[in-house]
């Protein structure tokens, strides 16, 4: 018997449940395979992402963690030759289903990347960018959205006096929080983060981690991280990815409560990876 993040006993979650449970989980990935041309990059990916929890993807480089993350808001659509089989349900609806609105999808599930990528615009315009695209024109309303988003991203106090200054002048950590504010401005339900702290120093990293802990009260978060300790500190659930042999597709070896993964993993390969016996 395993326990969930609140310590309640739950049956060990099989990697492939036949029917996704849409109430508890915001995102359910079912039997996902991903191809880049002829190359199969991912195979048989099954993950349930619980509402208002942080789910971490860990594993060696090149094992497909980011590809799965990108498939959740269909960023792989933009890659030539990329093809997805299987299903990704967002609140019960298959985002790869016919006629699914990708713009709406990316509004509901925002993405933050490894390198902070603010637009070469003012701090204000960065945050207001999304709402403007979605038709917000009223100045007072925009002001309010910008302030609220920056407050939620724990950046407001540092930038409130210089909203018209270029975002490029901010420090790396501030830029990353600005990118999070930019995502929050369009009122998403989920936030995907692809190694958001890889380019940041330890203090800036800690700020982002604190921020994510705060944000999970309102949002559902999925994070890809190379830093296993970050996954251990931050996440409620952890999925461990690996490729068995060179050229094989990436698979999920083990998925469960982070507490279990880092104290008593079930799969020996997970144990060997997290204890640094292979990498």
């Amino acid at each position: 018997m395993q326990t969930d993040v609140e310590g309640k006993s739950v049956a060990a979650r099989p990697l492939a449940t036949p029917e996704p449970q849409h109430g508890r989980y915001m995102i359910s990935i079912r039997d996902l395979d991903l191809f880049y041309g002829d190359f199969k990059a991912l195979e048989d990916i099954n993950v349930d992402v619980e509402h208002n929890r942080i789910t971490a993807f860990i594993g060696p480089s090149g094992c497909g963690k980011s590809s799965v993350l990108r498939s959740i808001n269909r960023l792989n659509d933009l890659v030539k030759g990329a093809r997805v089989e299987g299903q990704v349900f967002l609140d019960g609806e298959d985002i790869y289903g016919h006629g699914y609105d990708v713009v709406e999808l990316r509004k509901r599930v925002g993405m933050v990347f490894q390198r902070p990528n603010p637009f070469p615009k003012s701090i204000y315009d960065n945050v207001a960018y999304g709402p403007r695209i979605f038709g917000v024109r009223d100045r007072a309303e925009l002001d309010q959205v910008v302030e609220e988003s920056l407050v939620r991203a724990a950046l407001w106090d540092e930038v409130k006096g210089k909203l018209k200054q270029s975002a490029i002048a901010l420090s790396g950590g501030q830029q990353q929080r600005l990118c999070i504010a930019r995502v929050l401005a369009v009122e998403p339900e989920g936030i995907l983060l692809d190694e958001p702290c890889a380019a940041l120093d330890p203090i800036a990293t800690q700020r982002i981690e604190d921020l994510l802990q705060e944000l999970k009260k309102t949002y559902t978060i999925v994070i890809v991280t190379h830093n296993m300790q970050q996954a251990a500190r931050l996440s409620d659930y952890t999925a461990f990815f690996m490729i068995e042999n060179q050229g094989d597709p990436g698979r999920i070896v083990e998925f469960g409560p982070t507490n279990t993964i880092f104290t008593t993993p079930e799969d020996e390969r997970t144990e060997r990876y997290i204890t640094g016996r292979f990498g």
């Binding site: 296993m228 300790q229 251990a232 880092f262 104290t263 008593t264 993993p265 997970t270 144990e271 997290i274 204890t275 640094g276 016996r277 292979f278 990498g279």
Partner: protein, 214 residues
């Protein structure tokens, strides 16, 4: 590719230190048994003096374990092993302390008042305590879960002898009160050594499986 090799070597070294401590403690229990059977008060004093060696072992093991946890952030089997090594060091130290208690209790005992059945019974307990301590260390060293679980059954034998003293003293009434009390205490100290061995077995179970008592 083996990563974190330096860290795993440090864990291996700590493990070796704990095993050295274990052999010192087993030897201490055996010497304590001999001291009682031969009623050798010089040996008793030596055992009391040598207890510092065991205390130093425990201190070194705990300090190193603490430092490794702080600096290496171990997880999963590494974390369980480090925690268990530190716990085992405490139990081993406690076993040696109980030997000291036996030796100190002998100081004011009069050999003439120790009847043969008492000497034999305490000897039996001493033999069993040595076996239990050895088995506890071996199950840890060889990661043998069945051997760890077996400790509790083995410990029953020592408990039975311990209970026998109460019965015998009550029924025969031969010994004077002070001798009876001291012998019951000595019996109890050996019995506690067995309990510590059982605890070691439970920690080994936790280390190997992640379940049970930490």
């Amino acid at each position: 590719m083996e990563l974190r090799r330096g860290f795993h070597e440090q864990v291996d070294e700590l493990n070796a230190e704990l095993l050295r401590m274990g052999s010192v403690v087993v030897e201490t229990i055996e010497r304590t048994r001999q001291a009682f059977v031969r009623f050798d008060k010089d040996l008793c004093r030596q055992i009391v003096e040598d207890d510092d060696i065991v205390d130093d072992y425990r201190k070194r093991v705990e300090e190193t374990g603490f430092e490794l946890i702080a600096r290496q952030a171990p997880v999963a089997v590494d974390l369980r092993k480090l925690i268990v090594i530190m716990r085992l060091a405490q139990h081993l130290e406690r076993m040696a302390d109980l030997c000291v208690n036996v030796c100190k209790s002998m100081e004011s005992l009069d050999e003439q008042r120790i009847s043969d059945w008492i000497r034999e019974s305490i000897n039996d307990m001493g033999v069993k305590a040595v076996q239990l301590a050895e088995q506890a260390i071996t199950c840890y060293r060889t990661a043998d879960l069945a051997m760890a679980d077996d400790l509790e059954d083995q410990d029953d034998a020592i408990d039975r002898v311990n209970r026998r003293f109460f019965r015998e003293f009550k029924s025969t009434g031969e010994e004077d009160i002070e001798t009876a009390i001291r012998i019951v205490m000595i019996s109890r100290f050996f019995e506690r050594i067995g309990d510590n061995a059982v605890d070691v077995g439970e920690h080994v179970r936790f280390m190997l499986t992640g379940s049970g008592t930490l």
